[in-house]
């Protein structure tokens, strides 16, 4: 019996497209996140993460529903990777989740309920990339724990990958990315309307075909 052999790879291109301009801050930004938001508006053209109001509402609703029992919730962020003027940014259009094995301090997908997660992925009406994950810290504020960091490093280590953490009891939300051996909070914004469709495709280097993701 031979081992499986990989005979080729097709990488997904990064779209060069101006980010949405009609955006707003999340109402639950922590003081630090609010500072990052204001600084980004003043000095940059691009936020790291653009979260659709559809995705935001689903995350909020799921975390609020589990908050009375102090249970963590979790899901995958479904979106796209784009660039503008040399900066990579992340679009989160929707989320995918399912029943969970959860407690006030741990959360995982219930292995028996994975088909429901897959149904969410199949319902996405775009060619999604899992651009990160979200989970809640009910009453514990927003940060990445040791367990969260293991997940982030193992599965979401590309520059566009993010982790959204929400605390529905303290009414806080933050977005994080890996940086060096640790992590940093990154500016994100909410998009109420739709996202612009692709007009053209090019590499960050200026060619005609998109830059490949690892």
């Amino acid at each position: 019996m031979g081992r499986p052999r990989i005979v080729g790879e097709i990488r997904k291109p990064v779209l060069e497209l101006m980010p949405p301009s009609a955006t707003r801050p999340h109402a639950w930004l922590s003081p630090d996140a609010a500072k990052r938001y204001k600084a980004t508006c003043a000095t940059r053209e691009t936020f790291d993460v653009y979260l659709s109001s559809l995705a935001e509402n689903k995350i909020l609703e799921q975390s609020m529903n589990a908050a009375p029992k102090m249970l963590e919730v979790m899901g995958l962020l479904l979106g796209e990777v784009r660039s503008w003027k040399g900066e990579i940014y992340t679009i989160v259009r929707d989320v995918g989740t399912t029943d969970l094995k959860n407690s006030p301090a741990k959360v995982k997908f219930d292995p028996e309920a994975l088909p429901r997660l897959f149904a969410d992925l199949d319902r996405a009406d775009f060619d999604y990339v899992v651009v990160g994950w979200y989970h809640s810290h009910p009453g514990h504020t927003c940060f990445l724990s040791r367990t969260d960091m293991r997940t982030q490093k193992a599965m979401f280590s590309q520059s566009f990958h993010c982790a959204i953490v929400i605390d529905p009891l303290n009414r806080e939300i933050e977005a994080f990315k890996l940086r060096g051996d640790g992590y940093i909070g990154v500016p994100f914004t909410i998009v109420d309307g739709g996202f612009p469709r692709m007009r053209r495709l090019r590499t960050l280097g200026g060619g005609q075909v998109g830059q490949a993701l690892q």
Binding site: V7, K12, L76, V107, L114, P115, F118, T147, R150
Partner: protein, 82 residues
């Protein structure tokens, strides 16, 4: 008799990249996950692999799991939060 190799595609959900993989019917799901995870420099245990809405698990041979020529499998991250 020498088994005929066949090809499938495996998509990495967290990058959108797809590999074409050549295998035999008696290869296992674990071998598919291991090959793809190694190629993309990922931890094998951090993912589940799906065909449509079905999770494909472990030591099951591809033929027994119903994997056929030209099928598209997807490697989906299985995170843990704390």
């Amino acid at each position: 008799m020498v088994p005929l190799p066949f090809r499938i595609k495996v998509k990495n959900a967290e990058s959108g990249a797809t590999v074409e993989m050549e295998l035999e019917n008696d290869n296992t799901i674990d071998e598919v996950i291991e090959s793809a995870a190694t190629f993309w420099n990922k931890e094998m245990g951090a993912y589940v692999v799906r065909k449509g809405k079905k999770v494909l698990r472990g030591t099951m041979a591809l033929a027994d799991a119903g994997v056929r020529e030209d099928d598209m499998l997807e490697l989906v991250p299985d995170p843990e939060g704390g």
